[in-house]
């Protein structure tokens, strides 16, 4: 049986000046079952957002995309813009980062929800406005605020409105790109709670893109850790936390401040490799505390491990040999 959403071998290249290319996303693949919640984590610039925009076909013309995106077994990426567009918002809806400018400043919040209902013929006129009121109330915004403009909303309310807008066409997958970034901690908690209850109530599958590990831990079943454009480890959140199988995952967790823990969060020295030239060896070996000879010249592939997880690290071979 095919998954609800299955991404296979997704690659994204950006054209640079002088015939050069930047390989921003390198063979990313994951699957999402109905109602499942997957977190896509990694530091800034690792290709999380590019992956999401790539699978929706929303990247600028300077980007070329390869790979397949199967929605209920059908490749929506194969037919280009024409084959993706009917699925946007209807099957795959997205909540953007910050929501600061994700809403058009010169249109009322309500009209921006109404327009998407009308576009996908879910409702028109009075019916669409009624539905908009319901949507806004379902995220905790009083219905009479529909006539207000985005700048009259607080940051948290704008994010809620963006979530309400994403729910307009009852999508099966909700993609949230840094939904809590740029919000204060209290509002962050409220938004996470809202996402949690909405996913449960509507049986939504959630693809959560964030650099914030605690957010993933709180909300997601599984997580995929991205580094330098590829997924380096993928598995259940608990397993990743307690028994990481890639040094990057371990260091990433160690770099997260722990409210109850002691000591200072440890930063990972160095910077990710440049992606505009071919990589030799493991992309992480220059920053890895456990790199050895093989890491400098042989690139580790993402391999399946026990417990429905996978990782791309040579150490897993060594351990297997030792054990």
């Amino acid at each position: 049986m095919s998954s609800l959403l299955e991404v296979e071998g997704l690659n994204v290249w950006f054209d640079l000046e002088g015939e050069r290319e930047l390989h921003a996303v390198q063979g990313v693949g994951f699957a999402l079952e109905p109602g499942e919640r997957l977190g896509l984590v990694g530091e800034s610039g690792c290709g999380k957002t590019t992956t999401v925009l790539g699978l929706l076909g929303l990247l600028p013309p300077s980007a070329s995309v390869a790979g397949s995106v199967l929605l209920n077994g059908v490749d929506i990426l194969a037919g280009g813009e024409e084959s993706i567009r009917p699925h946007r918002w209807v099957d795959l809806a997205i909540v953007f980062q910050g929501a600061m400018n994700a809403l058009n400043p010169v249109k009322t919040v309500g009209s921006q929800i109404v327009e998407v209902l009308e576009l996908h013929e879910r409702a028109r006129g009075r019916e669409a406005r009624t539905r908009t009121s319901e949507l806004l109330e379902s995220v905790g915004i009083p219905a009479d605020r529909a006539e207000r403009f985005p700048h009259e909303f607080s940051g948290g309310m704008r994010q809620r409105a963006a979530i309400a807008m994403a729910l307009a066409c009852n999508p099966s997958v909700l993609i949230a790109d840094e939904p809590t970034t740029a919000l204060d901690v209290m509002v962050q908690a409220q938004i996470l709670e809202l996402l949690d209850s909405l996913c449960r109530d509507f049986g939504l599958a959630l693809l959560l893109v964030t650099h914030d590990l605690p957010v993933v831990a709180e909300l997601c079943d599984r997580a995929a850790v991205m580094y330098a454009g590829e997924i380096v480890e993928h598995g259940p959140v608990d397993a990743l936390y307690h028994e990481p199988r890639h040094p990057y995952t371990r260091l990433l967790f160690a770099a997260t401040p722990d409210l109850y823990g002691e000591g200072v969060p440890a930063s990972i020295p160095g910077a990710p490799p440049r992606l505009d030239r071919p990589l030799v060896g493991c992309p992480f070996h220059t920053r890895c505390d456990r790199a050895f000879g093989r890491c400098t010249h042989e690139r580790p592939l993402l391999r399946e491990l026990e417990g429905s997880r996978s990782a791309a690290c040579h150490l897993n071979d060594v351990v297997a040999e030792v054990v």
Partner: protein
């Protein structure tokens, strides 16, 4: 109602601006070197008595402050004075010139706005393609051309096909209405075209940059993610937002329509306001100049006000 305060404030500010401009206009022309009398007398060796008589006749013997006071008083009653040059009421002179100018400049400006908006939108929408390069290069080329040079080139190109001077064919005796309109349209074509071509480049560049800025906004990405087609995004989200700076520019340039276009009107012997001002400067015709500048001031201030109010209407973020 949102913005009643705002409107009142803007209107009061506009009236104040007009008053200040009137005062400056009055002072400015009296600071210019040369004297009205030298020209009026047209006799270089006029006796001091003659000069004094002429000065008295036009009230130039009074102090500057008295002159200003009289001017304000008359202005308030709607009297713009009498032209030093042809002894006609300034209001009559201005009206004739204005009626000649407006259609020519309006057609040129509207042409420039339409062509500029179209090429600007295309340049932004087709960013990085040959279409953008062609559009921007052409716009810059026309923008940089001296008006009188372009006018002369068009004269060379179209002489024989279209009339190159004046407003109408004076040899048409008692033309029928349709003949008259056709004749007028032929005469207006070249000056309007010249003006339009010189002006449109600015619109192209401003529309392009406004559109590019808008197209890079997050809400455009949202609109795409919602599943809108490119054309619908352009209409629903991009144009409306890019209109903000463009609306201001359009309103402001409409204000300058009454200024006429001195260069175009000179090249094509168009008897409009631009030439009237030019002649008035040469003849130190103070009342005429004051009248023309008053008209220009009121028009510019009025359209500024329109731009402010339009902006207020278009952008809900503007508060008083």
């Amino acid at each position: 109602m949102r913005g009643a305060d705002y409107i009142v404030k803007r209107v009061v500010f506009a009236l104040l601006t007009v008053f200040v401009a009137i005062t400056i206009n009055f002072a400015l022309f009296r600071l210019a070197p040369g004297s009205a009398v030298t020209n009026l007398a047209r006799v270089p060796h006029a006796t001091p008595e003659t000069r004094l008589a002429i000065k008295r006749q036009f009230g130039l013997d009074k102090s500057k402050f008295q002159q200003y006071w009289i001017y304000l008083g008359q202005l308030f009653r709607g009297n713009l004075g009498v032209s030093f040059a042809n002894s006609q009421p300034v209001a009559t002179n201005l009206r004739t010139a204005l009626i000649n100018t407006i259609p020519m400049v309006l057609i040129g400006t509207v042409f420039a706005i339409l062509l500029g908006t179209l090429t600007g939108v295309i340049a932004a929408w087709r960013r990085g393609t040959k279409a953008e390069g062609a559009s921007v290069t052409t716009a810059l080329a026309f923008y940089s051309m001296p008006t009188h040079w372009l006018g002369l080139m068009l004269v060379i190109l179209f002489a024989g096909v279209l009339p190159t001077g004046g407003m109408s064919n004076e040899f048409l005796l008692n033309p029928s209405f349709s003949t008259h309109v056709k004749d007028l349209a032929e005469h207006i074509a070249l000056p309007s075209l010249t003006l339009g071509l010189v002006l449109y480049g600015e619109y192209t560049l401003i529309v392009r940059s406004a559109m590019l800025e808008t197209l890079g906004e997050d809400y455009i990405l949202t609109a795409r993610a919602k599943g809108f087609r490119a054309g619908a995004i352009l209409r629903r989200h991009a144009l409306r937002n890019a209109m903000l700076p463009i609306a201001t520019l359009v309103a402001l340039s409409l204000g300058y329509i009454v200024a006429g276009a001195i260069l175009v009107e000179t090249v094509f012997s168009w008897p409009g306001l631009g030439r009237a001002v030019y002649d008035a400067v040469l003849q130190r015709d103070y009342p005429m100049l004051q009248g023309a500048f008053l008209l220009l001031t009121i028009s510019v201030v009025f359209f500024n006000l329109v731009a402010d109010l339009l902006y207020f209407k278009l952008d809900p973020r503007i508060t008083t």
